[in-house]
Symmetry: C2
Subunit: 207 residues, 2 copies
Amino acid sequence: MSARGPAKQFDPEVALERAMEIFWAEGYACASLADLLAAMGIARKSFYDTFGSKRALFERSIEQYSVKVVGGMRATLQAPGSPLANIRRVVGSIRDDAATPFAPGCLLGVAMAQCSADDPDLARILRRHVARVEQSFADALARAVEAHELRADLDVRGTARLLTVALQGIRLLGRVTETRELTDGAVAAALAVLDAASPSTATTALS
Amino acid sequence: MSARGPAKQFDPEVALERAMEIFWAEGYACASLADLLAAMGIARKSFYDTFGSKRALFERSIEQYSVKVVGGMRATLQAPGSPLANIRRVVGSIRDDAATPFAPGCLLGVAMAQCSADDPDLARILRRHVARVEQSFADALARAVEAHELRADLDVRGTARLLTVALQGIRLLGRVTETRELTDGAVAAALAVLDAASPSTATTALS
DNA sequence: GAAAACCGAGACCGATTGGTCTACGTAAGC
DNA sequence: GCTTACGTAGACCAATCGGTCTCGGTTTTC
């Protein structure tokens, strides 16, 4: 810890952020060292001194992503006020994320689709983050039930999982979609799921 | 077309099937030529004579997958009898697909997560197949509405899209999940969406 | 000023990539 | 029996991969 020399001339956090974006857009295998170094704006030597290996950088990128995106999602879900409104806000925000043509989708989803079958370590990391997202949804749904915003007999766990997989699916399909048609429809239907579970609309929604 | 020599000593269809499985499990980038050739059981020369390139093989594998899996799904959806029961059957069958630990998920989903941002050709192919799945769901939902199995004011298009993205999400998350817990919950919730849209339960689902 | 820690540029490494090629064996049609 | 098309086996290619290395230069602390 004796800093005899000068401080780092680049910000590791910023470099990690840039690397995350490359992994996000290209995937692990397709993101070459050259791509990463160019985006990070640092030299090969500095990269290995700071991050160790491409694989280590990837895991740190996932962590960075989780802190940023998933953390933001959880913060919104746990915000004070109407739990149901918070859930709607999170689901609706996917529409904005997937608004740009060929959106990068979810980095965690992209990572899942990589060669993770023979990579239990990576699978465990991803599983943990997915569980956190699901739990955040479940907590918010439970609070909404408690606030009588949703029916008392709602399958909280199942609904949380449905929202989780639906969001992953939306972001995945957003990677190849150039319009927001598909995501809009899916988001609307996902919100309709919450409507259907509302105690007030269950009586009025007669055909 | 003048077959002066002997017939092919291997079945291109079988070889394509094997290649599809490799792409399915490993992804495009991670599936090396050596992996593919070993699985296909043919020589390098025969491979390039028959399929042209790795990329061409991948596109044909996607086509093969669509004919097999997506085609099977569409056939089930279009089977005679109750349209709603057919939809339930398709959604429920995902549970079986994702039952095995670290299931390969959906090849189309895996392909979407690859470096498709700068690959409009592949994106177009995938988009077409997704649209076909969604349309099949939409048709079945419309028939269910017509048969008074679902509410007349159901958002058919949105629900079809929700089912499409939810299925993609389930299969994606199944790649890193070792138990069928998550998929079971999500499938149950997806089926509950259909329940909520049933004209008979809308009146009785009071809290 | 010397030492230490950092930087970028780039040579270099073995391994692997997708793809091409030749050599040789073999079975079907003339 | 010759030709032709197909097959396998495997050498071979340039390019790229992730990773290590040296070099020269700079900034900070001692």
